[in-house]
């Protein structure tokens, strides 16, 4: 197995506040890696640096061994990184399939074309992607009327449009019902298995994290404080103290395995 994503000493300071402090980790091929931690622990900052939205204060990010620190989001995307957002970002004035077509147009370098009609281009490929996430029957609906869970699936289809090697998902199940959460993560896990995509995701729903991730990292006050399997993390006293608490507000073992 090869290393898909690696960070070395990733640090971000805002003024005097160190939001992310010397974070180093590796993500292996076909791995589903979860990043958890309390609010304000630096998860989003960390994500934004991986995706190029924020320049790190120091440290480096490597994708398949190539340094990508300092590149813009769109350049990183071109290198085969897809992402979904904590708060869905879709084109609300377009239909579902047109949303996916946009990503395909961009992937094929057709943005600055003026003669052809956009809605005819790459429609078949877009429908295939929608089919993969179970959205093909809604392809021609107006994106603005979709239910939230469907928007999340649409975003996933869009993120897969350029056959990425790495998928970054920021709280992929935020705002979804428990059943949908499990379904979406199951879908993601299937994609990881079938297409060899690697996934790094942040999440607050411990049921989702414990059920689907291959490995878990815990961030607190900007620093990685623990790393390991679900059982190891659950048993870690430090993680319990800063994040998990007494375990009364998330599912016990039997739910986690559901």
């Amino acid at each position: 197995m090869s290393v898909v994503l690696e960070t070395r000493g990733l640090t971000k300071a805002f003024g005097g506040l160190v939001a992310v402090d010397n974070v180093s980790f590796q993500l292996q091929e076909s791995e589903l890696l979860a990043l958890i931690g309390p609010n304000g622990a630096g998860k989003s900052t960390c994500f934004n640096m991986l995706m190029g939205q924020l320049p790190p204060t120091s440290g480096e990010v490597f994708l398949m061994g190539e340094k990508i620190t300092g590149l813009k989001p769109r350049q990183i995307w071109r290198k085969g990184v897809g992402r979904t957002f904590q708060i869905t970002a879709t084109y609300s004035s377009m239909t579902v399939v047109e949303n996916v077509q946009m990503a395909l147009l961009s992937h094929n370098g057709r943005i600055f074309r003026f003669r052809s009609q956009a809605h005819r281009l790459y429609r078949k490929e877009a429908l295939a992607l929608l089919d993969m996430v179970g959205m093909a029957d809604q392809a021609d609906r107006h994106c603005a009327v979709l239910a939230y869970g469907d928007l999340k699936r649409l975003e996933l289809a869009t993120a897969l449009a350029h056959e990425p090697t790495l998928l970054l998902m920021d709280e992929p199940t935020a705002g979804m019902a428990p059943k949908e959460r499990i379904a979406l993560m199951q879908l993601t896990a299937d994609i990881v298995r079938d297409q060899g995509v690697s996934v790094l995701f942040t999440e607050h729903d411990m049921d989702v994290v414990f059920a689907h991730s291959h490995r878990i990292m815990v961030l607190n006050r900007g620093a990685l404080i623990a790393e390991g399997s679900a059982a190891e993390i659950r048993a870690n006293p430090m993680v319990q103290e800063v994040y998990l608490g007494g375990g009364t507000v998330f599912g016990a073992e039997e739910h986690a395995d559901a």
């Binding site: 309390p38 609010n39 304000g40 603005a144 009327v145 239910a147 939230y148 869970g149 709280e171 935020a174 705002g175 979804m176 019902a177 428990p178 059943k179 949908e180 499990i182 607050h204 411990m206 049921d207 800063v242 994040y243 998990l244 608490g245 007494g246 375990g247 009364t248 507000v249 998330f250 599912g251 739910h255």
Partner: protein, 233 residues
């Protein structure tokens, strides 16, 4: 205390609530459960009249509140804690509380800043910090505190546990229990069944804008098939 009778609400063209009815007895905590998009937040907003139901009525203490402006609804003693917090990030913690301030109300606790700082000790240290400097959990506490400054008889709590670390959720549960013991009535929308179990007396489940279950939590627990069908927690 609160009766919602056969309301129908729309968001643009989407028919979100269909003939929904529920009631909240005085002094109880009722949990409104359901998937995202089921209509929980719209129910809250329809009670608050932030979304106008196109038919049906909402009664509070026997008085019709349908069609009133939101500020009139608030003046009647209904407090609203929105799901996305919506604190005033440019204002300090104290100033946020000032916005929520209303005259004392008969039958309700008259809250002062100091009492709220006792209830949420983290906020006391942050009283002169701007809202944007607070963490997610602190912001969530501030929204609740801000609403309490209006001395409400009844509070709509929209998904207080969403996106908050489990330790904070536990603290939130303790606060809700304490408020209940002081006589406050609460309608709580939740997706986290564990949290609802910890604080609520009764539950209403909505699915696609329609009521799918109405009863005590004990009754809900006795019907695992209902629970699994609509919540699958």
């Amino acid at each position: 205390m609160l009766e919602v009778n056969h309301i129908n609400s729309f968001y643009g063209k989407a028919h979100v609530l269909r003939d929904l009815s529920l009631d909240v007895p005085r002094g109880k905590v009722v949990a409104l459960l359901g998937r995202n998009g089921a209509g929980k937040s719209t129910t809250m907003k329809s009670i608050m009249q932030l979304v106008r139901p196109q038919s049906g009525s909402v009664m509070f203490q026997g008085q019709q509140i349908t069609g009133l402006l939101p500020h009139k609804v608030a003046k009647m003693g209904i407090g609203y804690v929105p799901e996305d917090r919506r604190i005033f990030t440019d204002l300090t913690v104290s100033e946020n509380l000032v916005v929520g301030q209303q005259p004392p109300r008969e039958g309700a606790v008259t809250w002062t800043e100091d009492m709220l700082f006792d209830l949420f000790p983290n906020l006391a240290e942050r009283r002169n910090n701007r809202g944007k400097a607070l963490s997610g959990g602190e912001q969530q506490m501030l929204t609740i505190a801000r609403t309490l400054m209006g001395n409400p008889l009844f509070v709509l709590l929209d998904e207080p546990s969403e996106g908050v670390a489990p330790v904070i959720v536990e603290q939130m549960a303790r606060v809700i229990q304490q408020l209940k013991s002081e006589g406050l009535t609460v309608l709580l929308s939740e997706q986290n069944l564990h949290f609802a179990q910890a604080v609520a007396d009764m539950a209403v489940i909505i699915e696609s804008g329609e009521r799918a279950f109405h009863g005590t939590l004990a009754e809900l627990n006795a019907q695992p098939e209902v629970r699994d069908a609509f919540l699958a927690a």
